[in-house]
Every structure is written in C-alpha cells, then in structure tokens.
Symmetry: C2
Subunit: 318 residues, 2 copies
C-alpha cells in the first residue's frame, strides 16, 4: 500500500475510542476556523495595548488580525494527539506565534529583507518606524516566555521548564536565529539541496517542529511517540518551506499578503531554483507522505487533526 492511499484512510478514520476529531475536509475547515478564533482572542488578551509609548499598540499591530496561525494549530493538534492540557497548549501556541511574529517584524526591516507589505498591511517599521519595530520584536520575544510562565500555577513547574527550554532552543542561535544567519550568508551562494535543507531546518523548521513537540509536551508521551512526532514536525517544516518557495513563484502578492517573487529577486537559493517548479511540488508531496507515515508509526490514537494539518500545508494557496 502506498503512503498516499494509506494517508487517505488515516484521515477519514475515527480514533478507536471515538473521541478524536473526525477529519474530513469539511470537519477540518470547521475545526481550523474555530481554533483560529480562539487563538486570535487569546492573543488579543495577552498582547496588551497598555505597554508604554505606543509599544503595546505596535505589538498588537504586529500580531493580530492576520496569519494562518499554523504554529498554534500544530500545538493544539499535538496536544489533542496526546490527550494533553488544552489550556496550556493554547499558551504554547500563542508563545510560538509571538516568536514567529517577532521574527517577521525583524526580518522585514530595511537591514534584512526590507519588505513593506506583510499580511496585506504595511510592515511594522513602515507603520511605526524602524526603532519601534526593533523594540516590538524584542518585547514580543520576552512576552513569549512570559506566556509560558503565568505565575498562577496553571502550568506545572516541570512542564513550564520543559516548554521554556524548548522555546529558547528553537528560537535561538541553534534554531531560528541561527537559520536566519545562514540565510543572510547564503544570498548569491549556490547552495546544494542538503545545504538548503539544513538552512531551512533551522530558519523555519525549528519553530514548526517545536510547535508539535511543545504541544505534545502538555501531556504524556512515550519515547516512540516523541520520536515519530519529531519526524512528523521536521517533515512538515521542510514541506512548508518547499511550498513557500513554490508559492513565491506561482502566487501573486495580493494572494500571499506579502511581496511575491522576492526570493528570486533577492537571488536567494530556493527549492524551485534548485529543482524546478514541478519537481519542487512533487518533492513537497513526498515529504508530506513521510509526515503522515511518522504519525501512523507513533501509536498515538488521535492524530487525525495532525494528518489534516499536513494536508493543509501541502495544499495551501498563501
């Protein structure tokens, strides 16, 4: 049986206990919309407007009213897969989204990608000035950790320690920030596929994988399930980036909500440049098959939503 056939079975299968979310396309769309609303509400509550001198308003501008919220959705779905604490997973997801949002604010600045459009709006530095954009990113990173440490006992200490450590590692020099440094150094350099994948494993992969692993850290997890979820998260992260490169070529700026074609214009290495458009799309599909296969090997009963999220990453249009 091929992975693809097997995947369609898995996606339509109810969990043995009957309590998992059944994920046909319609059900997943409904789940996603409902969770996105919950995430938006939580972010709005936690990114307060009262930080001084307009900083709070600028932080809210950077975070709210946009984005697919893929990282929070992954955290919530991974929590569901292990029967974890949903309230903690919501904090986890929002913390990850704040790290993601801060990285976009800093990435868009003139000294980095110098981009003026993000999620269909002027970027933060265009709207609020470069200095404020710098502070917005800095403050969002601190707030991400604060979210995991509410100080009210609602996140058990051992869990909070594990979550904060995973977040620090995924965001820092051995994760996202390190990947961005490699990205900077790669402009105009002919990376081969292993080097390109190594770069993305850090730049976007670390945070996406952490979304899965941190979400799963809100509940019990066998060593085997942990290992397979890590494979799922890594594959999903890679596929996400390959699809991103495809969309950079095939979609327009209005659909993307950000400037299309900018990677090619900036002479950045991409999977499309390396292997061509059709082969890149096919590669994304193959990598996603690996994600589905890892979920099946995990032995976890409630993985339907994680399967559906992998499908969504492969099919997204923006």
């Amino acid at each position: 049986m091929s992975d693809v056939q097997d995947r369609s079975q898995a996606s339509s299968r109810r969990s043995p206990e009957g309590v998992g979310t059944p994920v046909g396309a319609v059900d997943f769309a409904a789940w996603r919309a409902a969770q996105q609303a919950v995430i938006e509400q939580a972010l709005s509550a936690w990114v307060r407007s009262d930080a001084p001198a307009g900083l709070g308003e600028a932080m809210r501008y950077a975070v709210l009213d946009g984005g697919k919220r893929l990282r929070p959705l992954l955290a919530l779905a991974a929590c569901e897969a292990v029967g974890g604490q949903a309230a903690v997973a919501l904090r986890v997801g929002c913390a990850l989204e704040l790290i993601h949002a801060y990285s976009l604010v800093h990435d868009d600045m003139p000294c980095m990608d110098n981009d003026v459009l993000r999620r269909g709006k002027p970027t933060v530095h265009v709207r609020f000035g470069e200095a404020q954009a710098l502070l917005v990113g800095d403050a969002l990173q601190a707030l991400a950790f604060e979210l995991l440490l509410p100080g009210d006992g609602s996140v058990p200490d051992a869990m909070a320690v594990s979550l904060c450590r995973q977040l620090a590692l995924a965001a820092g020099a051995d994760g996202m920030a390190g990947g961005q440094a490699v990205d900077l150094a790669s402009v105009g350099v002919a990376l081969d596929q292993p080097a390109l994948e190594a770069m993305h494993r850090l730049k976007t992969g670390a945070l996406l994988q952490a979304s899965v692993m941190m979400g799963a850290s809100t509940g019990p997890l066998t060593a085997e399930a942990r290992e397979q979820l890590a494979v799922y998260g890594a594959a999903l992260g890679l596929a996400f980036q390959v699809v991103d490169d495809v969309l950079d070529v095939t979609a327009d700026s209005a659909t993307l909500g950000k400037t299309a074609g900018k990677d090619a214009a900036a002479d950045k290495p991409t999977f499309v440049a390396l292997m061509g458009l059709d082969a890149a799309q096919a590669y994304a599909d193959r990598v996603l098959d690996q994600a589905h296969a890892a979920l099946r090997r995990s032995g976890l009963p409630h993985t339907d939503t994680l399967h559906a999220l992998a499908d969504w990453v492969g099919q997204r249009a923006s």
Copy 2:
C-alpha cells in the same frame, strides 16, 4: 546618626557568623576582580562560537572582554546576602548580562542611537553589519533564558520558573523594552523629574532591580527582606542612571569606552539637564543612602558586598 555614618559602620562590619565577605575598599576590589574573572569565564563557556554563519563569533564579540558586569555582580552579592545557591546565581548573572548585552547591540544600531563605539571597540553593527547585529541581539535574548534552563536538574524547577518569569518581565514591554520605547518618544520632550525617573525605572532600573531580586531568589527570603531588597535594587538603579548622566557630561569618550556627550547632543532629557551637575551628583548620593538604609532594614546578615556595590555605583568613573 546619619545614613552616611551608619553606612560606613555597616560596610566595615563582619557578619555575625563571620562567613560573610568583609568589605573594606581593598577587600571589595579583590572580590570584584575575582568575580569578574569568574563571570567572564562563564560567559565565554556559555556563549559558544559554533553558532552558524559567524553568528556565534558575533555574539561573543558583543558579550566578552568588556563591561563592568554590574548585573552579575549584583546577582552574586544578593545570593551571598541570602545564603543562596552560588552556581545558580552565576547563571542568573550571566543571563542578565546577556539581556544587557543584547540591549546595547540593538540600542547602538543606526535606527536607534546610531553609535559606533562601545566598550572601546567598534559596535557590533559596525563590525558585522546591521542584519547580523539584529540577529545577535535576538539570539542573545533566547540564550539568556536557555542559561536558566540547563536541562540537567542543576536549577530546581520551581526556582527556574520564578527566575525565567522575573527575567521575562524585566526585559519586556513592562520593563526594559518598554522603557526604551518611552526613551524614543522622549527625544526633544521636556520631561519633569517624575517622568524621567519613571522612564529610567523601566529602561535600566528593571534589569538592575531584577539582578538583585533574581540573585536573592536562589535562596530563602522573608517577605520583609524581599521588600527591602526591592527598595535597594530600585534605588541602586536610579542612582546608576543619575551617575550615568553626570558621566556623560564630565567624562571623555576614552574613559567611558563609548561616545561621551551623546545624550546632550541628541537632545535627550537627563538629570543633569534637569537639575544641574552638582545637584545631580548630590541626588545620586542621597538615593544611594536610601539603598544602604533598605539593606540595613532587610535583616539579612551578609549584605556587606551589596553595600559596597552601592558605593561603587556612586563612585564609578566610567
């Protein structure tokens, strides 16, 4: 008895148990030099050069071989005052120093203070470029949290949670980053003294106070001692800033290791502009008297080094 007479008694008094550090001027200088060497060694071990694409080297450039290490010294002295865990306090101090170092890297960037000299060396963006400087700051913030979460059981979970929460609050929008936003918004604005102090309470005060409180969090602490240490930390933070403003006028760039006179040139509000040079120096001394008085009220037996650090802040030449 005046605070000043009382202070000199406290500074020369051995602790009842005889295990505290006796702090005459010579003893304190020796303690400081020894601890600075320990801090430098720890930072060098924890800020590794192997982060990708030169990021690690740039992070080390930003952190090592310079600085008074006031925040780590405060953390170590506060740990000593409560009989806390010195190994944890060293992590605390280095985490605070990484936050401080990241803030300097970002502050020096062209969109903020646009400074080219720091600790007698070219600033990070001059040496490594703006994009790398941005990433250096971002990665140092994540590393600060990582230091408090070594993952080897050496920091008890409850303590790590408390420390990380304090760090996030001191660094974020309600602390340092918020204070910087106020600072940005204050250029050319005639702040009165309460507004100026409120700005500095966030911008530099939050992290200095956190240095004391986090250092003290490595050991047992009564509510009264906690309250008085908070007063000490706040007073020390304010005095530090007043002295900074005095030095900006009276010292030259070579002594400061950074550009002198830049606050006046940037039309930033300062204590010297507000009250004059002599009155500012006298105000710093009065505030430091409050710091000493709070230590005496704390009931803690081993506060000699904290007393000496307050004296040092008042007398520093750079």
